[in-house]
């Protein structure tokens, strides 16, 4: 069975890149920042892939790809720290781990056959956007249900925060355990609603 989307197999996705995503996306602002960073990494790798394939031999493409992903993640981390020290403080050690999510986002789509005949940057951009929306919405859900607030990704030391509930119903959602629970439900929903390929 093969499905479209950036998570072709939830078990495989659990092995690469999802742990820092769960740990980092504790609020809407942090999830948006993390998703944006992973998308930027994946797009940078997608843009650099054709010149890398033509100029670097196969044995050196993996380390070059890893170095490029790490460089983009570090530059993104510096930009986030300049944009909002508070969001950077929230993401903490998971800022460099954006390179892991970017690599997995770029590599996973190349590990399974796509319905499109060409390997286009536009397809990667669409899937990166899906990842960003997933990270942002997961962060928003966790913060809204777990803490009753919604932190917007505004610049400065104190991002704008909207308070919706004085007593949030599911406080466990902001912990890592709650994050894994939420992602389990999201994966189940994805498998339930994304149509299977014909004949499978």
């Amino acid at each position: 069975m093969d499905r479209d989307g950036f998570v072709p197999n939830p078990v495989l996705a659990g092995l690469v890149g999802i742990c820092p995503l769960i740990a980092a996306s504790r609020s809407f602002a942090e999830g948006t920042a993390y998703g944006l960073g992973a998308a930027a990494c994946a797009l940078a790798l997608g843009a650099a892939a054709p010149p890398l394939r033509s100029s670097v031999s196969d044995r050196l493409q993996a380390p070059a790809t890893l170095a490029l992903s790490a460089a983009v993640a570090l530059v993104f981390a510096a930009c986030i720290k300049a944009y909002s020290p508070a969001i950077a403080a929230g993401l903490w050690v998971y800022l460099p781990l954006i390179s892991v999510s970017g690599l997995s986002l770029y590599a996973l789509r190349r590990s399974y056959p796509s319905r499109r005949s060409e390997d286009s940057l536009a397809t990667l951009a669409l899937e990166s956007l899906m990842f960003l929306l997933t990270a942002a919405s997961a962060g928003a859900l966790r913060e809204f249900l777990g803490l009753g607030t919604l932190t917007l990704p505004t610049p400065g030391d104190a991002p704008l925060r909207l308070t919706a509930m004085a007593s949030p119903p599911i406080r466990i959602l902001v912990t890592p355990a709650g994050g894994f629970m939420l992602f389990g439900f999201l994966v189940a929903a994805y498998r339930a609603f994304v149509p299977r390929r014909e004949g499978q």
Partner: protein, 153 residues
């Protein structure tokens, strides 16, 4: 040397040089961002008209550098504390210490995600992890002052 090995070595060197250039670019951007955060920190820790210097740097996850501030013939140390908890809270606090390491003041600078402070008047008790971070910073200030006194004597 066989031609294949020579070609491989040249290719290895070329890729190493390219990655070295990439590393330099990343280091330059990181230094620029660090300079900006340094200026912002100095902006809300050092009162205007005071003389200041960086007393020390640390690898502690809560604080990276401590400023030594001299104003009105009084000396104090100041730093920003970044506190992140497993409950989805992230805070940035400004702390000032006496040369003996006593906490003189703690100021709320910013927060992210669920950084809600129930009692702004007592940040140490309101924020989980603030007490431990303040204690580590206090120990670091005492060590800095002891080192400085030892150098002066």
């Amino acid at each position: 040397m066989p031609r294949d090995n020579r070609d491989r070595m040249i290719e290895n060197l070329a890729v190493a040089v390219a990655l070295g250039v990439l590393a330099l670019v990343v280091a330059a951007i990181t230094l620029a961002a660090d300079a900006r955060s340094f200026a912002e920190e100095r902006g809300y820790l050092v009162p205007s008209g005071s003389s200041w210097s960086v007393a020390g740097r640390c690898d502690d996850p809560a604080f990276a550098r401590v400023f030594r501030i001299l104003s009105d013939s009084a000396t104090c140390y100041a730093t920003t504390l970044t506190i992140r908890s497993l409950q989805g809270q992230a805070f940035i606090l400004g702390a000032s210490f006496s040369p003996k390491g006593e906490l003189l003041g703690l100021r709320f600078v910013g927060s992210c995600s669920a950084g809600q402070v129930s009692d702004p008047g007592d940040l140490v008790d309101s924020i989980p992890g603030a007490g431990e971070a303040v204690a580590r910073a206090s120990d670091f200030v005492r060590a800095l002052e002891a080192e400085r006194s030892g150098q002066g004597s």
